[in-house]
Symmetry: C2
């Protein structure tokens, strides 16, 4: 199976690392909107090409893994390339998923291709676990906790404050709340009761730290509804202690059966040293499914909900029944 | 959708309870190999019929949920009825799955039906999580811990010992081992290091308790390889404290990405007040998928690996994308 990667930020690099561990997938090229001659990639056998090369629809790839941002890249990119190639993206702007799905569906069907959107861990593996749980135990309650992990969006929001040189924001689940759900209490939890936010900030020399802290803690949507802690640190400390991108979290689901009030708790938990490398690994497994489904004649937009798990592995049906059932 | 249940033991009752919570599934009949006139069921609108009535192939059901035992019932039952109806079972004798799959596949294809085998939580949801994890992070290590929960097989084994009136055996995961896996240590764990076994025994009057305890602890396959604790209790205590059938456990998977040794831990955990009611709920969700797939023209044997999650819910694609993605 031949794959292409469009975009070589953290996620594109994560996909490249995942493909390197798959014997059945060959990375043919990384496509970039920047000058290809300025880009060095890790895979010695893959080419670096211009994104413009994709426009012909003639690139020799079974699937294009699109590693752009949800805000401005993917809404245009994924439908554009979905007509020409089998594609997969990690679109995560929840409110716009219906529109994005419809656009990709139309394009994929025009081109006779498969386009899988919103893949990764949330949306992605967490979504799957919400669906499995509610299908098994209808009428229960689901809870999603994120962290401990770095939120890029919140880190960026802090960096936009005057006097801030660098920032890293960790989202942290409130363990007490997680435990209440695990105990089957079905609590009603406010935003503040579910997560706290911890910020590490490098201030410009002479900046008003008290004002920065105040601006962070009162920032609407991002921080105002949370208990937020702010630590000012040096550039060296930032580099030494906060250069990784760990993340994770849990989907918990609590539901009843029978008439005697039997309660059941289902938990799916991820603890990730590298958010982009794990997300890239999920995209790569689903890219395999996308190429296979299209080879079977399937077309149109899909999500993780539409993919039978057997399509994610290079192993045969006999092998997976023997080893994993 | 119209469903039938074959067999009305703990699992059949669990399926009945699950169907009662599904608006889109109607329980038409419970089929029994005993005298139907002697069987009372909970669903007022469903019939109690003889299993022999199924032989005509004319029963008005879209799927038959077969709730028999793996040792002697299912190897014959499932292939027999797979030719006549869409069927689903919870076959869990691991070594015989290839044969059972082949038998059901041949029968289902002859009859133009779908037959899903080995459904429940292990095999079933745990299997799915092993497959998802290894597909995302190939080459990692998986660990399955069971409990705390009642093992029927082990309880039965104790009951066969002379002088034992009743017995209940709990399988308990060793928390220290679970924590080592959660910490990404990838430990090599012996049988004894993963689980302990706790037994509650009601002895006959005058029985030699020391001898019973010795026989339990040295029983090959069942107890000899484990640290086992035996408590002798009264019949009243057994009834009061050990009448439920709780179970659960975890599938943990630990795998790497990239070249810097980023480690990731995936955990799927179940905590079940009632093993048969939860298993029945999983069977019911997959029964829905079986009937749907056959209505689309699909035939042959399937496992949970072959079922796209969207088939498990009565909700539409638009609804699941809006609520769970």
């Amino acid at each position: 199976m031949k794959a292409g990667i469009l975009g070589y930020g953290n996620l594109g690099k994560g996909v490249e690392a995942a493909i390197a561990r798959c014997d059945d997938i060959e990375l043919k090229a990384v496509y970039t909107r920047r000058d290809p001659s300025g880009l060095k990639i890790k895979t010695p056998t893959a080419l670096v090409k211009s994104a413009a090369d994709l426009d012909s629809g003639k690139e020799d790839i079974d699937v294009l893994i699109i590693c752009g941002g949800s805000a401005t890249d993917l809404p245009g990119m994924t439908p554009k390339y979905a007509e020409l190639y089998n594609v997969i993206d990690s679109f995560d702007t929840h409110a716009n998923i219906p529109t994005h799905f419809a656009n990709v569906d139309a394009a994929s069907k025009r081109g006779g291709k498969v386009g899988l959107i919103s893949c990764g861990w949330d949306p992605g593996m967490f979504s799957l676990n919400r669906l499995y749980a509610t299908s098994i135990l209808p009428g229960g309650s689901d809870y999603t906790f994120w962290g401990k992990g770095v939120s890029q969006g919140h880190s960026d929001a802090i960096r936009r404050i005057e006097g801030v040189k660098d920032a890293r924001q960790y989202t942290i689940p409130v363990e007490e709340a997680v435990d209440r759900v695990r105990n089957g209490e079905n609590p009603e939890l406010s935003t503040r009761e579910k997560h706290t936010r911890e910020c590490f900030v490098v201030a410009e020399e002479g900046a008003d730290k008290a004002k920065i802290e105040e601006q962070i803690k009162t920032m609407p949507n991002y921080f105002a509804d949370y208990d937020t802690t702010v630590h000012f640190i040096s550039e060296e400390e930032m580099k030494r202690d906060h250069s990784g991108l760990p993340h994770g979290g849990s989907v918990l689901y609590s539901g009843e059966t029978g008439t005697d009030g039997c309660n059941h708790v289902i938990e799916y938990r991820l603890q990730l040293d590298s958010n982009p490398e794990f997300t890239g690994s999920v995209l790569t497994a689903y890219a395999r499914a996308v190429a296979r489904l299209n080879a079977e004649g399937v077309t149109g937009a899909k999500t993780v909900f539409d993919i039978a798990p057997a399509y994610l592995t290079p192993l045969s049906g006999d092998e997976i029944r023997a080893h994993f059932l």
